[in-house]
């Protein structure tokens, strides 16, 4: 294993993680809900498509608004804009479709199963995390080391 120490950013990673944990704790203790992004996006989307706007859990669109507003506050505090995707538009479309289907089928993603599930010591979430980590590593390995 060849660690790229030049790219390693342990302190900002831990700090960012702590903020994510803090936000998760706020949403949990404040509203009694799991801060799982795929559910927070997927549930209102499903209600919208079925024309049942009254079924939308009101905090969810506000959580999404917070996520969308975060870069604005981040830049105000002097943060650099996040890097741009390194792949083609066709690849972004394919990846987005896979992620969309996968997170709804598995009922969660990096936040719901990862942060929340592992924090709750849920075996179900651990199984999902191991599956998406293995597939993520395999996907990068194939694209970077087998195809190129």
């Amino acid at each position: 294993m060849n660690v790229d120490w030049q790219a390693f950013t342990p302190w900002t990673a831990l700090g960012g993680g702590a903020l994510i944990g803090l936000a998760t704790a706020l949403y949990l203790l404040g509203d009694g809900r799991i801060a799982g992004i795929s559910g927070i996006v997927g549930a209102p989307l499903r209600a919208l498509l079925r024309g049942r706007l009254s079924e939308i859990d009101r905090p969810q669109p506000w959580f999404i608004a917070g996520l969308l507003a975060a870069p604005w506050l981040w830049r105000l505090c002097g943060g650099a804009a996040p890097g741009l995707p390194a792949v083609s538009t066709a690849m972004l479309v394919g990846a987005g479709l896979l992620v969309g289907v996968g997170v709804r089928m598995g009922n969660g993603c990096t936040s719901g199963h990862g942060v929340c599930g592992l924090s709750r010591l849920s075996l179900r979430s651990l199984v999902n995390v191991l599956a998406f980590m293995a597939a993520g590593v395999a996907s990068v390995s194939v694209v970077r080391h087998l195809l190129s």
Partner: protein, 149 residues
């Protein structure tokens, strides 16, 4: 109150993703590239998040209701089946192709990235396709069950 908690949670969550490097797809791909020049940073994002969230979940288990007055809605689903694993595999495959998972993609969209907009659009289509045609006949228990209101 509930809306404010939602907005603040999303805002702090997004700042955390930006600070931690999760919203940078190149950094995500470097984290998943275990066989290449591996950048382990993002493991510490997960570690830091769990270290803070775990005591909160321990506290939440002892409470019946949240500050908003709503009942605690912790997932009760413990089923481990093909959909859980298959969904994880499909998600991981897509994550490794683009370097975006749902939260960071939304944050990158908020920062004005056209690539993230393409990804989020496709992700919403994928979610809708699943819910319309691939979901179980009886809807599965949602990750965050919502009380009728």
């Amino acid at each position: 109150m509930r809306q404010l908690i939602g907005f603040l949670s999303g805002l702090v969550f997004g700042i955390g993703l930006l600070l931690g490097g999760m919203a940078d797809p190149r950094k995500v791909l470097a984290f998943l590239d275990v066989g290449g020049a591996w950048d382990p940073s993002l493991a510490l994002v997960m570690g830091g998040a769990i270290a803070v969230a775990m005591p909160a979940f321990a506290l939440a288990r002892r409470r019946r209701s949240a500050w908003s007055g709503d009942a605690m809605a912790l997932p009760a689903n413990r089923r481990i089946d093909a959909r859980l694993v298959g969904g994880g595999l499909l998600f991981g495959l897509g994550w490794g192709l683009a370097g975006y998972c749902p939260g960071p993609a939304l944050v990158a969209l908020g920062s004005g990235s056209a690539g993230a907009a393409v990804f989020v659009g496709a992700m919403l289509v994928g979610m809708s396709v699943h819910d319309a045609w691939l979901a179980r006949a009886a809807p599965p228990a949602p990750t965050a069950p919502t009380a009728p209101r």
